[in-house]
Symmetry: C2
Subunit: 664 residues, 2 copies
């Protein structure tokens, strides 16, 4: 059954204090923009609704900008999709490069009003960092969500596509944080989803894409690489087979004729059982380029995932290293990809663990469009039961210096196009929404849903600032609420890391579900995910003496990671096998560090709960209750992690906790 | 889709050498039996088909026994359902106490002919040991089978009951080995299965029961204890609530009026989430007796499972012991149960592991009808991929002296009624069939399907003898085949035990699926299934110094199990936590024993494969191929077990293998 009730998240437009802001927005005029443009029209609608809701003022549109107190100006000073906001002599000027810029500027203005910030004297210039800012949904057409923790899909139900009021609200939310592309279906394209590029779904997809277009968003689809075989085309998916190429060309003509707003396709090929060019002895580039050629005439792009590794590894094999796979599979074809292909690279070399180094493909590739993929859905990071504010993690990734030899060498530089001047670049996140009333299961998980868009638009934002915005918009402008919730959010990743996996080791998690502790759960499996713990020590040797993964980085990163002495300690066990008796910089032994952090992690959850309880009555009641209930489950989970990890390593090492606490 | 092809298993009736057997069966007469009795009629039909198929002789019925060479006599010399077979002066006399005895005698005769045993001079007397000999199917009404490894159900599909030619063949097979009761639906009664006792299914259940009745089999059903609530009766299932009792009385009147051949019900209550009397603060006896009273007027019986334990245990808690639960939950009400209640007790105190002690409830209960439950379906014993001939295990259980203080104190004595003179006793096995063409997935697993019935009928049979029978009937009378397959079967349990769990520890298995190794898979879980391994040793202390489980046995068993010195070594880790350096009777340390047995287990599988390969062309081609393919999977599985178990304990103990073999 479809749920009919949902919240307005950070677009609540509830009554706010005015601080003189109302004066600016009473009379507005467009200059160089047409109200008939669909995006402008929806920006104005949003402006009207927001201003009326928050300030009780009805925005009156006037034709003469000289009479207006709010002027919305089309200006070519700004970068694509950028805007500026300036107050001078009682007139507020919102300048934007294009309709998307104007829409984002309007949402920005509404945000300031919602946060009760005075507009007087304001001078802000905001250009987006990433050309492409996308949410990827792993929604299946039966309504389930792969790695979904907030109910079922609101895009699909029983192999049908849903287009309704909720679709529009979703578009408003993501547009308000600057998202300009959305993939609606799971990258694992199976069953009905293969048929999305056929007659069966064209009409409804076109209708969905129109709603997205109202808010400057392009619709993207995940594609089944084996579609020719499954849809009755040629009996092959070989990218060099002329029949196959022809089939795709005809298919894309058909698709883009029926869904003109389509942005392109996301492809997971040769990965975890998905078909791909390797089946035919072709390279990833040959596969991607074939599709790129087919969508090129329609301005389409192909986003090709680099999550290609051997998922049937023998755990006995200590030479093969899954961490190496992305680089090894993609570096050789650097430069071979078409301009309208983007390689989408997960932030770490493994799979969205709570702590990983940055993928060496980022900065490794020099002549290929790159896009960063992060995961807002909390698959390995608490599943929206446990609080884990992920924006600091994403920020760390963006700030990482790849040392690729260019002046602009951070991940931020690479994916914004600053490093090599390319424009088909950007960032995508696996989304954490579902059809729960609060969209994200745990109300606090909406801070990630919100924050990703904000950070994607503006890499320079501080995660703390983003947290504060979200709290003010979603919970309260009350200073006590802001400070305390900020404390909870900003500490939450450190806490989660403490009670789960020490020093970058990862994967001590229940197989399949990926929630809850199972220290050996992935130790003797085929997934390439091992901790290699024995009675003396723990960790994976990925140095030049081990799998050589560290050498995939540019210098000086390669050397830094290669030695236990210089390796950042939070990644020590990712790169090195270390004795339990090894002294960390803190002076503690490794084993004592494991014990201590796990006890601390649980204590920190208990403290978070105390803080949250002090906010009862100060935050919306339903959010309070939902979060409180999830905290109980988080505490249970944290205790299980603490006791299982500590008991496991105690039983294995035989080394007592110095503080004599209870270990089983 | 229903499968339409299936084998005839051990009732193939293929051409056999005669050895003069044909002379006896050419002319047959009934004496004191009527050919109009449904069971007699089907016995004669089987006799005809079998004799014609195997010897090419048409059995002619004559009315004067004096003219017959085969006389089928109703005789009150025999125990209920028993028979004797005697040859004297060219006349074969099959005497039977009743129609079931005659049917079993006919199948026995056909078996001898199929095995090419000369009938001349034969003198055999066979009375069944167990009054009740049952197969329990854990088939769900959607067609799936809980713990099924041979395809889908042939009783159910999409919430409908199937009654067809396969039903009849199934009835013939199980009747031929002496089964007289069958539960067709899973003990976890959910969804549609709750409705089996309603109008919706009466007609088709009656039809099914008629087919069973043709072969002397009673139909039984698993019952949902919460049926009153779910079927619109009283809003309670409290056994002392008069409304509830009344509802059940009316319900049973209705059920037995519609399905007069029904034998009664199997109930899993208060177990693993199933509802039961504990919900209402009542005892198991109060729950069982209420149902017993309701079915009493119709001669029905209630089989009540003793598989009641806390399945949400805290793994940190070393006091609670799941092994104790059956005894602790049932011993106090000994003597409180009605005569038509039977407590069904799993062979071991845990759950069908490859090695467990015998449940102390068997022999603990003195004034309660008892039935032994074993599992022919290879849930924990290789899932019909790995070969594991289970009859020796069942035989060990039957031969166990409970030392209950009576002369007849073995499990065999208890469940046959010899100990206390009761008649509602017996044995049940969870069946291993499905709709695969060969019925049991692995053709060799049919030896268990066959063997259980034979052993249930006659506890005195040697597992080797049963194996030989099955091989001759199913594969070949060729001496080389008989000897080699017997070797494979008789060694298979030892081999499986070697490469899986050492010395009775159990549970080192993948959670949920229960196939494949996961040493810690159940170590930090809620199921009460722990090995408690640390860097010094392994095993669960169930002595008087530990959980006290050993004290649930009568003396001298209690003392024997209580001390590591006297505890049978194959159960050492079940009863004791033992250092890796402990010397076993072999002179080996425990850790070396673990290493050695695991290497041996794999070597034995390799040897079994070599032996099987030498039989190509000598056994039916399809069986050869299927078994050969399963052997590949068994070998893979055995190697995984070997390497994971050895690596796990090597990494934990740090103790080297004396032989320096490869451990990871």
């Amino acid at each position: 059954m479809q749920k009919t009730d949902w919240t307005q998240l950070w677009l609540k437009y509830e009554k706010k204090r005015d601080f003189g802001n109302g004066a600016y927005v009473a009379k507005a005029a467009l200059k160089g923009f047409s109200a008939e443009n669909r995006v402008i029209a929806h920006a104005l609608e949003e402006l009207n609704n927001g201003i009326y809701g928050m300030l009780g003022v009805t925005v009156r549109m006037v034709s003469d900008p000289g009479e207006a107190s709010l002027v919305l100006v089309n200006s070519n000073d700004r970068k694509k999709e950028g805007f500026s906001l300036r107050e001078q002599e009682g007139v507020l000027t919102l300048s934007a490069a294009d309709e998307n810029g104007l829409l984002y500027g309007v949402f920005h203005l509404l945000r300031l009003i919602a946060m009760e910030k005075p507009l007087e004297g304001i001078r802000q210039v905001v250009d987006p960092d990433d050309p492409l800012r996308m949410y990827d949904h792993w929604d299946n057409m039966d309504g389930s969500i792969e790695r979904g923790y907030s109910g079922e899909s609101f895009f699909f139900r029983q192999d049908e596509i849903l287009v309704n009021r909720r679709t529009r609200d979703y578009a408003r939310f993501v547009a308000s944080i600057g998202i300009n592309g959305v993939v609606i279906n799971n990258v694992n394209v199976k069953q009905a989803a293969t048929w999305l590029i056929t007659e069966r779904y064209f009409k409804v997809l076109a209708a969905l894409s129109e709603i997205f277009a109202d808010y400057g968003i392009r619709l993207y689809l995940s594609l089944n690489y084996a579609a020719p075989l499954e849809l009755g085309g040629p009996d092959s998916a070989d990218p060099l087979n002329p029949e196959v190429r022809h089939w795709w060309e005809r298919k894309m003509e058909e698709v883009f004729a029926e869904i003109p707003n389509l942005g392109g396709f996301l492809v997971k090929a040769d990965s975890e059982g998905r078909p791909g060019p390797f089946t035919y002895g072709r390279t990833q580039a040959e596969g991607a380029n074939m599709l790129a050629d087919a969508v090129k005439p329609f301005g389409g792009i192909i986003i090709w995932r680099c999550f290609v590794y051997n998922c049937t590894q023998d755990w006995r094999d200590q030479k093969t290293d899954r961490a190496r796979a992305g680089y090894d599979n993609f570096i050789a074809q650097d430069g071979d990809y078409r301009d309208n292909v983007i390689l989408q690279i997960k932030n770490g070399p493994m799979d969205f663990q709570i702590r990983e180094p940055v993928s060496p493909l980022l900065g490794g590739l020099r002549r290929t469009n790159q896009m960063l993929e992060v995961q807002v859905a909390q698959e390995y990071t608490g599943q929206q039961i446990d609080i884990c504010y992920l924006i600091p993690l994403f920020k760390e990734v963006l700030d990482f210096h790849t040392c690729c030899g260019e002046v602009c060498d951070t991940v931020s530089d690479l994916i914004s196009g600053r490093t090599y001047g390319n424009t088909n670049t950007g960032i995508a996140a696996v989304c954490n929404t579902g059809d729960d009333g609060n969209w994200t299961g745990n109300d606090l998980a909406a801070a990630n849903f919100y924050g990703f868009g904000r950070l994607a638009f503006c890499h320079g934002l501080d995660p703390e600032e983003i947290a504060e915005e979200w709290i003010r918009l979603s919970l309260s402008n009350d200073a006590d609420v802001v400070e305390k919730v900020k404390g909870i959010l900003l500490g939450s990743r450190r806490t989660y890391e403490k009670y789960t996996c020490p020093l970058g080791i990862g994967w001590m998690v229940a197989p399949n579900t990926h929630y809850g502790c199972s220290v050996d759960g992935y130790e003797y499996s085929r997934w390439g995910t091992y901790h290699r713990a024995d009675h003396l020590g723990l960790g994976v040797d990925r140095s030049s003496r081990g799998t050589g993964y560290a050498q995939q980085y540019h210098e000086p990163n390669a050397s830094m990671y290669n030695e236990p002495e210089t390796c950042p300690e939070e990644l020590l066990l990712f790169f090195h096998h270390v004795p339990y008796t090894h002294r960390l910089k803190s002076g503690k032994t490794l084993i004592q560090h494991i014990y201590d952090t796990h006890f601390e992690g649980v204590a920190e959850v208990e403290e978070m709960i105390r803080v949250w309880e002090s906010l009862e009555g100060k935050v919306p009641e339903s959010a309070y209750r939902t979060v409180r209930e999830r905290f109980d489950r988080q505490l249970y989970n944290a205790r299980e992690w603490r006791d299982q990890v500590n008991s496991y390593f105690y039983r294995k090492s035989g080394i007592e906790d110095e503080q004599g606490r209870e270990i089983y």
